[in-house]
C-alpha cells in the first residue's frame, strides 16, 4: 500500500527520527522488576495478583511491611496506585523506585519504626494491557485496554483504527486542508494551529486528524480503533456514561474491579496516593460545607481539606514543586472514588511538567515538523506533531529522581496515620459493682475517620467493647461507639459492670471490622495499664 501513496516525506534529515519509543519498561518487565524486588526484600515485600486482564496479564499488588507485632493486613496502611492511564509509564517507574527506596532505607531507625507498625500496599501497574501498547508498532498513544468496543456504535467492533501512512513506525497527526476547518496556522510559530475564529479572511483552514484512513467508509477517520476501556475513567465516582474510554459501566474491567475489591479487603487502608496525570497537592481541591451533593461533587469537606493542606505543605517542602498542575481529573477517576465512595484521604501526585507548554522548543525531538503527504483519499495533507507518549511526559530517569522525595512523603503519611490505643484503664469497686473507665487515644496525626469517611460509614464507627466471663453490663450497651477520633485526641469511656472480684475481662477497640487495640484487666480496684 505504501508504494501507491506517492509519499512526499519531509525533506530535512532531522525529521527522519528513529521510531523509538520512550525508554520505559513494558508490563512483563515491570512484573519481573517487582518479582526481583520481592526476592531481594528478605520477606518485606509480598506480591499478590489482584486481577487478570483480558489479555491474560496479572495485575500485581505489592505489600511492603517490615516484621512487627501485627501482620501486614491488620496494620494501618497507605495505598499507592500508579499509572491508572496505562500511558503514564513514568508513574509506574516512580512507584517501583519508591518501593526500592523504602527497602533501601529500611534499616534507618525512623524508617524501621514506621514500617514495623504500618504497611504500604502498592499497585504500580493496574492497567498492563494499555501499558503494553508502548511495545507495539506502529506506536500509537492510547490509554485503552483490550476490551473490544464499538466506539462509533455502528454494529462493528474496532474496525477503524489508525494507519502508519508514511511507514515511520509512529502514528502522528494530519493537517487536512478544509475551507470549513476549525484551525488555522499560528502566525508566530507555523508548527502550531490556532482556532480559526478571528483569523483573517482567506487564511487557510484545517482539520486535525490522527494519522490513518477511513477503513469502514463511514466518512470518519480512526473513529473505532482497537480497544477499549481507559481504566482511569472507569471508576464509580461520577462516571461519564458512554464517555470516551469509560466502558459499558463503571468497573466493567477486571483491572478496575481488582482495585476496588483490594480496597474492600483491606480495612487497614487509611489513606491513598495516586501517581499519574493528575494532581491535588499542587493545587488543592475546592472545599465544601456540609454533606456532598449527590451529583457532580468534586469538592472535599472543609474539615478534610485541612489534611489535604498539610499533605500539600509537606509535599512542597520535600519536592520544592510549585508548578501549575494540569486540568481537572476525568470523570470516574480513581483518586476521587477513593475519597468520595471509600472515605479515604486521597492524594494525587502528577509527574513531570505542569500544563504542557503549547510551544515545544524548535529542537525538541518529541515534536515532528510538518511535512507533506499524499493521503489515499484526502489528497495532499501534512503529517507531523507530537510523537506518541511525549507530550507532557518525563523520562524514566526523571521519574526515578522523584522517588527519594516521594518516599519521604509516604513515610510522613504512614507516620501520621491514626493509631488508636487504650490508655489509662481504671477499675473502681463501687460496693459490689465496678466502674470501668478506659481512655481511647489517637496517637497519630490523622483522624480515625475523615469527614467523608464518617459520612459514607466506611470509616465509622470507632467502637470499644467490654467483655469477660460472667460480666454483666449495667444499664447500657457493652459496645460504645464514637464517629471518629481526631489526631492527638482522646476520649474516655465508662461502663458499670457486675462481676466476681478477680474475674478476667477485656476491652477491645475496633474500627468497623478492624481490631485496633485490646486491653485485658481484672475486676479489682486499680489501673492495669
Amino acid at each position: 500500500m505504501l508504494a501507491t501513496l506517492g509519499l512526499h516525506l519531509g525533506l530535512c534529515a532531522s525529521s527522519l527520527h528513529a521510531p523509538e519509543a520512550p525508554a520505559f519498561r513494558g508490563p512483563e518487565a515491570v512484573a519481573a522488576a517487582l518479582e526481583e524486588l520481592s526476592r531481594e526484600s528478605r520477606g518485606a515485600l509480598a506480591l499478590e495478583t489482584i486481577a487478570t486482564t483480558r489479555e491474560g496479564r496479572p495485575v500485581v499488588a505489592a505489600t511492603l511491611a517490615l516484621p512487627g507485632p501485627a501482620p501486614a493486613a491488620a496494620r494501618p496502611a497507605v495505598l499507592v496506585t500508579a499509572n491508572l492511564e496505562g500511558s503514564q509509564h513514568a508513574a509506574t517507574e516512580l512507584a517501583l523506585e519508591v518501593l526500592r527506596e523504602l527497602l533501601r532505607r529500611r534499616d534507618e531507625p525512623e524508617v524501621r519504626a514506621v514500617l514495623e507498625r504500618t504497611a504500604v500496599c502498592a499497585v504500580p501497574l493496574p492497567s498492563p494491557d494499555a501499558a503494553a501498547r508502548l511495545l507495539r508498532r506502529p506506536l500509537v498513544e492510547s490509554s485503552s485496554n483490550a476490551r473490544p468496543t464499538d466506539d462509533d456504535r455502528d454494529g462493528r467492533i474496532d474496525e477503524d483504527g489508525p494507519e502508519d501512512l508514511d511507514g515511520d513506525g509512529e502514528i502522528l497527526a494530519m493537517r487536512v486542508p478544509d475551507p470549513d476547518g476549525p484551525w488555522v496556522v499560528d502566525a508566530a510559530d507555523p508548527r502550531l494551529l490556532r482556532p480559526a475564529a478571528g483569523a483573517p479572511p482567506g487564511a487557510a483552514r484545517f482539520r486535525l486528524l490522527e494519522e490513518g484512513t477511513d477503513d469502514d467508509g463511514d466518512g470518519l477517520v480512526n473513529e473505532d480503533p482497537p480497544g477499549g476501556v481507559d481504566i482511569s475513567r472507569s471508576f464509580p465516582h461520577e462516571p461519564e456514561p458512554r464517555g470516551p474510554g469509560s466502558g459499558p459501566y463503571p468497573a466493567s474491567e477486571p483491572e478496575a474491579r481488582g482495585l476496588l475489591e483490594l480496597v474492600l479487603a483491606r480495612p487497614g487502608l487509611q489513606a491513598a496516593v495516586t501517581y499519574g496525570a493528575h494532581d491535588n497537592l499542587l493545587a488543592l481541591p475546592e472545599a465544601r460545607d456540609g454533606p456532598p451533593s449527590k451529583r457532580g461533587e468534586h469538592r472535599v469537606a472543609k474539615k478534610d481539606l485541612e489534611l489535604y493542606a498539610r499533605a500539600a505543605e509537606k509535599h512542597r517542602e520535600l519536592t520544592g514543586r510549585k508548578e501549575r498542575p494540569r486540568g481537572a481529573p476525568p470523570r470516574g477517576a480513581w483518586h476521587e472514588t477513593l475519597y468520595f465512595d471509600f472515605g479515604l484521604p486521597s492524594f494525587a501526585v502528577s509527574l513531570g511538567p505542569g500544563d504542557p507548554p503549547d510551544v515545544p522548543p524548535q529542537t525538541d525531538p518529541s515534536f515532528v515538523p510538518w511535512r507533506p503527504l499524499d493521503h489515499p483519499t484526502l489528497g495532499r495533507v501534512a503529517l507531523g506533531g507530537w510523537r506518541p507518549y511525549r507530550r507532557g511526559r518525563i523520562s524514566a530517569a526523571d521519574a526515578a529522581a522523584m522517588a527519594p522525595a516521594q518516599a519521604r512523603l509516604l513515610l510522613w503519611l504512614l507516620g501520621s496515620l491514626a493509631r488508636v490505643e487504650i490508655d489509662g484503664l481504671r477499675v473502681e469497686d463501687r460496693g459490689g459493682v465496678y466502674e470501668v473507665r478506659a481512655r481511647l487515644v489517637n496517637l497519630g496525626a490523622f483522624p480515625t475517620g475523615i469527614a467523608q469517611g464518617v459520612f459514607t460509614g466506611r470509616r465509622s464507627p470507632l467502637s470499644a467493647e467490654i467483655s469477660g466471663g460472667g460480666l454483666r453490663i449495667l444499664g447500657e450497651d457493652a459496645r460504645k461507639t464514637i464517629d471518629a477520633l481526631d489526631g492527638g485526641a482522646s476520649r474516655e469511656l465508662r461502663w458499670t459492670v457486675l462481676g466476681a472480684r478477680g474475674a478476667a475481662a477485656k476491652i477491645e477497640a475496633r474500627l468497623r471490622t478492624q481490631v485496633l487495640s485490646t486491653a485485658g484487666f481484672e475486676l479489682s480496684t486499680g489501673g492495669s495499664l
Binding site: 464509580p236 462516571p239 456514561p241 459499558p248 459501566y249 463503571p250 468497573a251 466493567s252 476496588l260 474492600l264 449527590k294 451529583r295 468520595f340 465512595d341 459520612f455 459514607t456 460509614g457 466506611r458 465509622s460 464507627p461 467502637s463 467493647e465 447500657e476 450497651d477 457493652a478 459496645r479 461507639t481 475496633r510 468497623r512 471490622t513 478492624q514 481490631v515
Partner: protein, 500 residues
C-alpha cells in the same frame, strides 16, 4: 413437605409431581409422552429447587422452543437460570427483537417467579392453538430469568422470615458496624415455623384491641389507655449487644446496584460497594449488554398493584416526550388488562431510587422497561381503580377476606411465648405469605394478567420490514432506488432516550 406456601389441597414435592398431566402425577424418571406434555400448577409457590426442576422439565418437554442455561452463580452458589423462548426454525435469535423478563430480585418478592413460569408455559402450550402466541414465538425472542436473587428466595422459603425479610442477597454485611457479619437476624422463638409480630403487655401501651375486630390491634388515641407495645418482628438479641434483629443475613438491595444514577451509602441505602458489585447483577448486566436485540424489559416485584416506569428521581428530569407517549400508551393498556393496578412513575408514586434495574435498562440503554408491583387487595374485590387497597394494611376487611376466602389460613391470633429478654410476649399477626403475595386461589389470575400485559408489550416491540422497493431508471445505467421501511408496531425502532 407441607408448608403454608403450598395449596391447601396439599402437594407432593417429588420432582415431576409439580407437573400434572391429566391429574396423574408422574415418576421423575418417566419420559412424558409427547401427546400430553406436563403442566405446571399455579395454585402454589415454587421454592428455588422446585422452580429449577420445573424449568428443567419444561425445557425437556418443549425442546423445540425452549433452551435453559445458567448465566452465573449467586453468592451462595445457586444457578441463575435463563430460559430462552424462541423458534430457531424462523431465524437466529440475534435478528429478532427480544423481550427480557425477570423476577424476584428482592428475595421475598416471590410470585414474579410464578409469573415467569406461567409465561413460559403459556408461550409453548399456546403455540399450536393461538395465532398470536405463534406469531410471538416465531418472530420474537423471550429471555426469561425467573429468579434474579436465588439465595434470597431460598432463604425466604426455608428460613425464619416475615413478608418483608430476605429482600437482600446473601453476601454477608456487617449492618451494625460491630465487626461481626449477619450475627443477629430474626428468630422463630416459639418454633411454630413463623416469624410473627412480637408484642408485650403494658397498661400504658401504644396499642389496644380494635373494637371492630378484637384480633386486630389499633393505635390508642392520645390520653387513652393502651394494652400492648409493639416490639418488632419475632427475634432475640443473638449477639448480646442490647439490640434485636439488627444484623440479619445480607444487608443490601440488588435493585440499587445498577449503573444508572448509582449513589453510594448514605445517599442510597443498600447500594452495594459499587455498581454491579454483586455476581447476580453483574451476570445479568453482561447478558443484556451481549444481546442488543433486547427491545423490551419487564421486571416483576411485589407489592402494591403498580405498573411502574422511571425516572427514579425527579432531579433527573422527565423522560423525552415521544417516549413518554409510548410509555403512557403501554401503561394505560396495562391498567385495562390489570384493572386493580395503577400505571405510575417511580419517584412520584412510590419512592426515589438510585441505581435501579429498569432505570439502567431505559435511562442508559434506551429500552422501554416496566416494573410491575404484583398484588394488592384490589384483586380480592375488583371494585375498580378508586377502590384499590394497600397491600400491607391489617384492616377488618382484610381479615374478613382471609376468614371467608382462605378460612383463616393466613392469620395467627396473638398467643403467649417466652422471650429471653422480655419475659412473656405475645406473638401473632399475618404469616409471611400474606400481604405481599396473593392468596393461592388468585395466583393464577395474577400470573395470567401480568403475563398478558408483558406479551402485549412484546407484541408492540418494533417490527421493521421492507414495505416496498422501487427502481426507477433515470438514464442509461443510472437508476434511482426507493426503499420504504415500515415499522408496523407502536414502539419505535429506537427510543428517543437511545437516540440521546
Amino acid at each position: 413437605m407441607s408448608s403454608p406456601y403450598t395449596s391447601t389441597l396439599g402437594f407432593a414435592a417429588a420432582a415431576l409431581a409439580l407437573l400434572e398431566s391429566g391429574g396423574v402425577s408422574r415418576a421423575p424418571a418417566e419420559e412424558p409422552p409427547a401427546a400430553s406434555p406436563p403442566r405446571l400448577r399455579f395454585d402454589r409457590f415454587y421454592t428455588y429447587d422446585e422452580a429449577t426442576r420445573a424449568l428443567q422439565a419444561l425445557e425437556k418437554a418443549h425442546p423445540r422452543f425452549l433452551s435453559l442455561r445458567s448465566i452465573g452463580k449467586s453468592v451462595e452458589g445457586r444457578d441463575l437460570w435463563l430460559m430462552t423462548v424462541a423458534n430457531p426454525a424462523t431465524g437466529p435469535e440475534e435478528r429478532k427483537a427480544a423481550m427480557y423478563i425477570d423476577a424476584n430480585i428482592h428475595g421475598n418478592e416471590v410470585q414474579g417467579t410464578e409469573v415467569c413460569l406461567y409465561t413460559i408455559q403459556h408461550l409453548v402450550e399456546g403455540y399450536e392453538r393461538l395465532p398470536r402466541v405463534r406469531e410471538l414465538v416465531d418472530e420474537r425472542v423471550f429471555y426469561i430469568l425467573p429468579m434474579v436473587n436465588p439465595d434470597g428466595r431460598a432463604h425466604w422459603f426455608e428460613g425464619p422470615n416475615t413478608r418483608h425479610s430476605s429482600r437482600s442477597g446473601k453476601k454477608p454485611v456487617d449492618d451494625d458496624g460491630d465487626g461481626l457479619f449477619d450475627e443477629d437476624g430474626l428468630d422463630d422463638i416459639d418454633g411454630d415455623g413463623e416469624v410473627l409480630d412480637m408484642w408485650i403487655r403494658d397498661p400504658h401501651g401504644t396499642h389496644k384491641r380494635s373494637p371492630d375486630d378484637p384480633r386486630l390491634l389499633v393505635r390508642v388515641k392520645p390520653g387513652e389507655a393502651g394494652e400492648l407495645v409493639y416490639l418488632g418482628p419475632e427475634g432475640i438479641d443473638n449477639d448480646g449487644d442490647g439490640r434485636i434483629n439488627e444484623d440479619g443475613p445480607g444487608g443490601y438491595d440488588m435493585n440499587r446496584n445498577w449503573p444508572a444514577d448509582w449513589q453510594p451509602q448514605p445517599h442510597q441505602h443498600g447500594a452495594g460497594d459499587y455498581p454491579l458489585s454483586l455476581p447476580e447483577t453483574r451476570a445479568i448486566a453482561e447478558l443484556i449488554l451481549a444481546h442488543p436485540n433486547i427491545a423490551g424489559v419487564q421486571a416483576y416485584h411485589n407489592a402494591g398493584g403498580l405498573i411502574l416506569r422511571g425516572p427514579g428521581d425527579d432531579a433527573l428530569g422527565e423522560y423525552p416526550d415521544p417516549d413518554v407517549r409510548v410509555y403512557d400508551a403501554l401503561g394505560q393498556t396495562g391498567e385495562f388488562v390489570l384493572p386493580f393496578y395503577r400505571y405510575s412513575v417511580l419517584w412520584r408514586d412510590l419512592y426515589r431510587v438510585h441505581g435501579g434495574f429498569i432505570n439502567w435498562t431505559y435511562d442508559e440503554l434506551g429500552i422501554f422497561s416496566f416494573t410491575n408491583e404484583l398484588w394488592n387487595t384490589g384483586q380480592y374485590g375488583a371494585r375498580g381503580r378508586e377502590g384499590l387497597g394497600g397491600f400491607d394494611a391489617e384492616s377488618p376487611e382484610r381479615l374478613r377476606w382471609d376468614d371467608l376466602l382462605e378460612l383463616e389460613h393466613q392469620f395467627v391470633e396473638l398467643k403467649p411465648a417466652r422471650h429471653p429478654l422480655y419475659g412473656e410476649v405475645l406473638l401473632g399477626g399475618f404469616r409471611k405469605t400474606a400481604g405481599r403475595t396473593p392468596p393461592l386461589f388468585l395466583l393464577e389470575e395474577l400470573c395470567h394478567r401480568n403475563a398478558m400485559f408483558t406479551l402485549y408489550h412484546a407484541y408492540e416491540m418494533p417490527r421493521v420490514a421492507f414495505r416496498s422497493v422501487e427502481v426507477e431508471r433515470l438514464a442509461g445505467e443510472v437508476s434511482a432506488v426507493t426503499v420504504t421501511l415500515e415499522n408496523s408496531r407502536s414502539i419505535p425502532s429506537r427510543s428517543a432516550m437511545a437516540a440521546r
